[in-house]
């Protein structure tokens, strides 16, 4: 029941700041893939829910399906524009030559590595041993084997969660804003929040070479910043997340020296 406590803490606590924020990290030797590369996109992990009046997140199956197909379409058009050969795996049994459980293992391992990156790169638990080393995480042999079996150069993992403020939540925010007139000002009760992250794994070395997080939130319910369910919102998210891949530190230094 830890989840219950967490949900309540979220409900009764203060929400995220009202802005869109992205921050990416790359391996020091990373050069963004260009030209004729082969990219494998593993099943995008998407959830869209409604933010209830009380601030709980209610998952919605129809919205999630809608958002997933919008994101997949946006990804496809974006990568096609870059000249890469892309395969988006929607189900674990769709990758020829790789058994379902084997792919699941790589997915789970990468999810664990990604969580660790979020913890140590974004949430403040910085590791002194990794200071100044760019992005220094690896998925290891499993990823290399996946590359060898499939012939792909990179694997991309994508996680997206989005909450849409319910009518009740918006009304509550309006009431809070109206309260300002009588001296009880509470418009910032917390509205929609979106959290997306993606990691790029080099399937030749198994290393996580690039990682990016997009966090968007509004304190005032009703204010939107890209709805993942719509093609436009999904495109915007994919662009924010994957649009501008920066090269790693060493590569940038070399480019600067030239």
């Amino acid at each position: 029941m830890r989840k219950l406590g967490l949900a309540l803490a979220l409900t009764l606590g203060v929400s995220l700041s009202g802005c869109v924020e992205t921050r990416q990290y790359a391996d020091v030797q990373f050069t963004p893939p260009e030209g004729d590369y082969k990219l494998l996109v593993l099943r995008p992990d998407v959830t869209v829910g409604a933010l209830t009046t009380g601030g709980m997140i209610e998952p919605r199956a129809d919205w999630t399906n809608q958002a997933r197909s919008s994101i997949v379409a946006a990804l496809q058009s974006q990568q096609a524009g870059r000249g890469g050969h892309v395969l988006i795996v929607q189900h674990r049994n769709e990758l020829p030559g790789v058994p379902e459980q084997e792919l699941a293992d790589v997915e789970r391992l990468t999810a664990a590595v990604d969580e660790s990156i979020v913890l140590h790169k974004y949430l403040g638990d910085y590791l002194p041993t990794k200071r100044g080393r760019g992005l220094d995480w690896t998925v290891g042999d499993d990823a290399v084997q996946l590359g060898r079996k499939t012939g792909y150069d990179y694997a991309l993992f994508l996680h997206a969660e989005d909450q849409v403020a319910s009518t009740g939540r918006i009304v509550l925010g309006v009431l809070g804003a109206a309260g300002c007139i009588v001296g009880f000002c509470a418009p910032n009760i917390g509205g929609a929040t979106q959290l997306d992250y993606a990691s790029l794994v080099d399937l030749k070395t198994g290393e996580v070479v690039w990682f990016n997080v997009v966090r968007a939130g509004s304190e005032v319910p009703g204010i939107k910043f890209g709805d993942l369910r719509t093609p436009q919102g999904a495109e915007q998210m994919v662009e924010r997340l994957l649009g501008r891949m920066k090269p790693g530190q060493d590569v940038r230094h070399q480019q600067g020296a030239r």
Binding site: M1, L12, G49, G54, M56, A178, F184
Partner: protein, 407 residues
């Protein structure tokens, strides 16, 4: 309306306050839910039709995919088939919709997910003394699904947090407009909301207990076995706490489950209602033991390595109430050896010596028995024990060392 009303309400207020105070200290105050009132709320092949439940199911599909592929699962078809068979018997109208997974976790637990798949921990198989007890736990979990507990809890939580949020906002705005500070009341309301959520969760557990008792009684198991499970668990926790010089945790208002004591008492009352006098109930102990026989050494091994000698010893003693054997004696020795307090080496030696006298003594019993004989200088007997160990386990990781001891 009348004079007595005021008096009554004052009295009820006092009674209510008294009950609230009592529940603060014991955490168990609740009315028993009667098994006959528990009617399944879903039929066969149930699928959600409302948006919130569909969303929950969608999330759970993903969870099931992860759990079904977890490497913690025990895939032995005999055992998983056995569990499926039991849930197929005590699962009520949804019996054939359930999926059940066995996870190797040495802890007393089982859980039901909203879409109708259950996960049973191996620690449960260690603790159950017969099939009726196992069926009782599985029936309790089925009860959660049949009574639609997850979606009902979710809706309850959504409703109460909504109400609290609206109430807080109205109190804030209204208070400001009227020039009164209502913050203290809000804090009280917040605590009240929290407590009522936990209370709701405990009520759902009580429902599942009553539903479970009804289901196993209908399937021909003695309903009293469900109460016996709690008696065993309370004993185990007391033994574990005693060893650590602590007290067993009692229930509190912040618990998601009713206290073990109250569950036991309620289940006893349920059993009295459900038991048909003169009917011969079969707890199917023999079938249970033959089904879990192959995994029992692993179950015991996982348990004794938890470094909880109080609980391990109690568990072995409880299982031995149905008769000692070589396996139980050997693991009794392991509890002492791993505990390693003053005199435990002797206790362990006695257990190993007792274990090897049984026909089902595991190979390791001969190994440890041999080592203790060696220490006592009874070399010839020790060598015989080692020889036996090598015969039983020729590929043992320490076989070369043991051969060297044999000279």
């Amino acid at each position: 309306m009348c004079a007595r009303c005021l008096e009554l309400s004052r009295r009820s207020l006092l009674i209510g306050g008294g009950a609230a105070a009592a529940s603060l200290t014991t955490g168990v105050a609740h009315a028993r839910i009667r098994p006959q009132d528990m009617v399944p709320l879903v039929g066969p092949g149930y699928r959600p039709t409302e948006k919130d439940e569909q969303g929950l199911w969608k999330e759970m599909e993903r969870a099931e995919e992860e759990i079904a592929g977890s490497n913690l699962l025990i895939q032995d078809p005999k055992l998983t088939g056995y569990l499926k068979d039991i849930i197929g018997t005590v699962g009520g109208p949804a019996a054939h919709d359930f999926r059940i997974y066995l996870a190797r976790i040495p802890d007393f637990n089982a859980m039901m997910f909203p879409t109708g798949f259950a996960v049973v921990f191996t620690g449960l198989l260690l603790r159950m003394r017969n099939e009726a007890q196992l069926a009782g736990v599985i029936a309790h979990e089925s009860g959660h699904f049949l009574r639609r507990h997850q979606i009902r809890s979710w809706r309850d939580m959504r409703r109460k947090t909504d109400l609290f949020a609206i109430g807080a906002m109205v109190a804030g705005v209204g208070g400001a407009a009227g020039g009164v500070y209502l913050g203290d009341y809000l804090q009280l309301a917040q605590l009240g909301t929290l407590l009522s959520l936990f209370k709701y969760s405990r009520d759902m557990e009580a429902e599942a207990d009553a539903m479970g008792a009804k289901l196993i009684a209908q399937s021909g198991y003695a309903p009293i076995e469900m109460a016996n499970i709690w008696e065993q668990l309370i004993g185990e926790e007391e033994a574990s706490a005693r060893y650590r010089r602590k007290h067993r945790r009692r229930g509190s208002l912040f618990d998601t489950h009713p206290s073990e004591g109250s569950r036991m008492v309620d289940l006893r009352a349920d059993a009295t209602e459900l038991t048909i006098p003169g009917k011969a109930y079969d707890n199917r102990r023999a079938r249970y033991l033959s089904m879990i026989g192959a995994i029992r050494p692993t179950l015991l091994d996982d348990q004794v390595k938890l470094n909880d000698p109080g609980a391990s010893e109690y568990l072995i003693q409880t299982l031995a109430q149905d008769g000692w054997n070589g396996l139980l004696r050997f693991y009794e020795g392991e509890v002492w050896r791993l505990r390693n307090r003053h005199g435990d080496d002797l206790r362990a030696e006695q257990s190993y010596a007792a274990a090897v006298a049984y026909p089902d003594a595991p190979a390791d019993a001969f190994r440890w028995h041999g080592i203790s004989l060696m220490k006592e200088g009874r070399t010839a007997e020790a060598k015989a024990a080692f020889a036996r160990y090598l015969v039983m386990k020729p590929d043992a990781p320490d076989a070369a060392w043991v051969r060297q001891m044999l000279g």
